[in-house]
Amino acid sequence: MIDLLGHLHPILVHFPIGILVIACVMIWVQAIRKTETQSSISALLLLGAIAAIMASISGFLLSNSGDYEKGDVLTHQWWGIGTTLCAIILYFFQAYQKIISLVLFVALAITGHFGGELTYGSNYLFASKKKAIPTKELSISAADTTQQKVEVDTSMEVLSSVKNSPFQQEVLPILKSHCFQCHSSKKQKGKLRLDTEDFIKKGGKEGLILHAGNPLKSHLYSYLILPEDDDLHMPPEGKKQLNSSQIAIIKRWIEIGAPFGETAESESLHVMSLQSQAMTIPSDAPDQMRSLDLSVEPANEEALQEAKNQGISISPYPSSNGGLSLNFVNIKRLDSKIWQATRALQKQVLQIKLTKRQDIQVEELLNFKNLQQLNLEQSNIHDVDLENLRQLPHLTQLNLYGTAISDQGIKALVAMKALKVLYIWQSKLSQEGLQALKKARPDVTIVEGKFQFSPPDTNRLKAIK
């Protein structure tokens, strides 16, 4: 019950502020306009004084909850009591009400301001409208930390002296911008502080918040990924939320053992988390799954959207990090407009599927220098085009089934250094040509498709007995 009264404080404070401000205004309107509204003013002042008393009581109860730093609360507390007294005096002494109302007005503003600082942080009012620190700036945000260090916290100095520490450079800025408001020297909601190593390791009211190596067990991470409307979700609903890469950084930091000092890791947490995001493969997965032989920088969102708007189907390319597959199955006419829409993705595209297309422009394909896989089955690709495709240095897989590729194309196929898999079923390659190709490139898996079942032994279909 006492808790509840305390929690009502943020609601109750608005009543004295509103009512008393109206009373002050009415006192001055009455004085200037020479109207008679004293009875209304008195009623308002009485109401306001009672509201102020209620606010003071609830505020006092709230301050005892332990979530707030005593020193800061005291200032607000005495200003609050002063304001309340001022309202009471004003109610009883009409003689000096013009002067006293001015004092009351100022006291209200100051009390309110200190209260606001308790809730929203000390530099809330005059802080610039800087958004959540974008992840891109994370690497340089260490400097940012030092700059504001003095006004944030002195305990920071101990930590920030460590260089090349992922905690310092990447985790701390996130904690600072999203958590310190309630979990630092100013306030300790849930008896938790996050501003020093010792405090983080100590945990809060509900025990440890950090289990090195196990993010799901660590409330420092698990509370972040709860649905936003969950009571335990952090930061609370309505507060500035962490974005997904910031959450990923914290997860990664816990995964690597939550080191506070320097680490041997060469990659930043941000990069590591991106890698694990691209392929969320558990660390004990088979080796071949973890080795990402293909890694490209992630595609630009707008570029992806532009290509999608043209009707191109885009999916991640298997076993790659950031690589893309383009499928033109929905495109009716493959013209320059379509190719234009893929310009910004040329680095990321590792597979293009042009199955059954009669309108292929090979020179357009050559722009995709990282191309690994090309599906040209049942298309109108010709031997001469293969000569051009040689310019794709990474082409490992080529599907030419059902095309007019003949022995004329063998020379070009042999010269494709990276080639590993080739589909040639129902092409015009002769048996001799195929033998020559196999001999020249024994390293290439050639799927001929000449598969036939051998007829089953019907005798064996009878029961044994």
């Binding site: 997904s244 691209a278 009707g311 991640p316 599907n399 598969f451 079942f453 032994d457 279909l461 007995k465």
Partner: protein
């Protein structure tokens, strides 16, 4: 929020006038009586529409993606519970124990169905058919599957599947939706919801049911239902009759242009309704009409097998020209996969062999064996097996003991959930391997058990989805295909 129409189309019927005016007082009261939620939803949808992106899309965009191994799935569902003893799980020891009572040390008090629980003796029945080793992998395959045996080096046979259900409907429902009770979305619907349709002219989830199978156990359309997901994600059943998809073709004397015009107006009406009510099902309805119109041309095209060469029909076997047979459906499945349909599911009933198993299972295998193997090889030579996942399996296994009398000419097998075999092939799975192991009675799993939820988690993983991340909030709770279970079966991943 009155609507201004600049185009010639205008609603004029008095009942529809309300739509023109948007919300009037009575409407408002009616809606609030139905719950303020509707109004909140209205606003929510409107704001998302304003950003040009549906709420659903925003949620899905936030879904972390795993680079997928598989782009398509074809799931050959052997409904009824194929016996593992006559197909994949070779138990030579059983011949010695033929007719003996099943030891309690094996059964361990496992519940039995009412069909065999009261038997005085549970006589062990060995397979009436021989097994041989095939391929480089030297996998044991029953003599009943001579064609699949020839492609065994492409398969990853899982001998240690287990489920929690002992009766058909809950078991199939559990397999397809992750829950024994009806009402959850099917695997294909989850994939359609999570990944969308690659080919805009065909549904992402297509189902075909064999005509030639014996219909011993019924199938319900809810097995490919969307559950609580928006309706456009439900599986569309293709039939073998003149109209592959019901109610798709135009009425006589009604041409495509008329139909398009009618649908355009209908869409406007639906959109008005949507602006006024904000019910996501109206979106689904609009999407479905659009898809249906596109399917008027795309479906006849894809269902037409007339330009397939004789060689293809020979490959899929003698039944492949018989529309609606499993073999013909396999061929159609390949054609749909070629068109980048995300999830094709074939159902073949008739595996529920409580009696006369040796006689009945022969025909069952005959209907499916060759076409199944043909589908794998057909996909392979086209270069599609590397990004298509092929799945074969039923809802549970069968008992080692005979249900009813064990006679020299025949035996039956009852339902057995504690172990059964299925296989996967193609994208992302280890070809030519066997996973898991059962005891000498194929009664209990002794190595690497795979739960139905594990299978589902692995399937989603191969399609590039973390099964823990693909959620849908419904009735205040976030639902997953794998509920709160499911572990990735790493041992089968290539």
């Amino acid at each position: 929020m009155g609507h201004q129409h600049t185009d010639p189309f205008r609603l004029s019927h008095p009942d529809l006038e309300k739509l023109n005016r948007g919300l009037d007082r009575r409407d408002f009261l009616k809606k609030t009586a139905m719950g303020f939620g509707a109004i909140a939803l209205n606003g929510l949808l409107a704001s998302h529409q304003a950003q040009g992106q549906s709420l659903e899309q925003q949620l899905l965009d936030a879904l972390p993606r795993i680079a997928p191994k598989a782009k398509r799935v074809v799931y050959l569902f052997m409904s009824g519970g194929p016996s593992q003893f006559e197909t994949w799980d070779y138990k030579p020891e059983l011949t010695k124990r033929m007719g003996q009572d099943l030891p309690d040390s094996i059964r361990k008090g496992q519940r039995l169905t009412g069909m065999s629980a009261n038997q005085a003796i549970l006589p062990v029945a060995a397979s009436a058919y021989g097994f041989r080793q095939y391929g480089q992998s030297q996998t044991w395959v029953s003599d009943l599957l001579p064609y699949t045996a020839q492609v065994v080096d492409e398969l990853c046979v899982i001998k240690s599947m287990f489920t929690e259900q002992i009766n058909h409907d809950p078991a199939i429902t559990f397999f397809q939706t992750g829950h024994q009770l009806p009402g959850r979305p099917s695997i294909g619907s989850w994939l359609s919801y999570g990944l969308g349709s690659e080919n805009q002219n065909l549904p992402a989830f297509i189902v075909m049911v064999s005509k030639d199978a014996s219909k011993d156990q019924p199938l319900y359309a809810r097995l490919w239902g969307n559950g609580f997901l928006p309706s456009e994600h439900q599986g569309v059943q293709f039939r073998s009759s003149k109209d592959p998809v019901l109610f798709l073709s135009n009425p006589e004397g009604y041409d495509g242009k008329d139909r398009q015009e009618m649908l355009d107006y209908l869409k406007q009406l639906n959109q008005l309704q949507n602006e006024s009510w904000g019910d996501p099902e109206v979106d689904a309805r609009i999407a479905q009409y659009e898809m249906a119109f596109k399917m008027q041309t795309s479906v006849p095209e894809v269902m037409d097998v007339s330009d397939e060469p004789q060689e293809v029909f020979d490959l899929y076997g003698p039944n492949s020209r018989d529309k609606g047979s499993f073999a013909a459906n396999c061929l159609l499945a390949r054609k749909l996969l070629e068109k980048d349909v995300r999830f094709v599911q074939l159902y073949h009933q008739g595996w529920d062999h409580h009696d006369s198993l040796p006689k009945n299972i022969v025909n069952q295998c005959k209907q499916t064996d060759q076409a199944t193997a043909a589908l794998i090889m057909d996909l392979k030579r086209r270069g599609m097996l590397e990004d298509t996942l092929v799945i074969w399996g039923g809802e549970f296994g069968r008992t080692v003991y005979s249900q009813g009398k064990l006679s020299p000419t025949g035996y039956g097998r009852d339902h057995h959930p504690k172990c059964f075999s299925m296989w996967m092939a193609g994208a992302g799975v280890k070809a030519g391997t066997t996973f898991g192991q059962t005891d000498d009675f194929s009664y209990n799993i002794v190595k690497d058990p795979v739960h139905v939820h594990d299978f589902q988690a692995t399937l989603l993983h191969l399609m590039g989805i973390d099964h823990e991340q693909l959620v849908y909030k419904y009735q205040g709770r976030r639902f997953r295909l794998t509920d709160v279970h499911g572990k990735l079966v790493k041992g089968i991943l290539a």
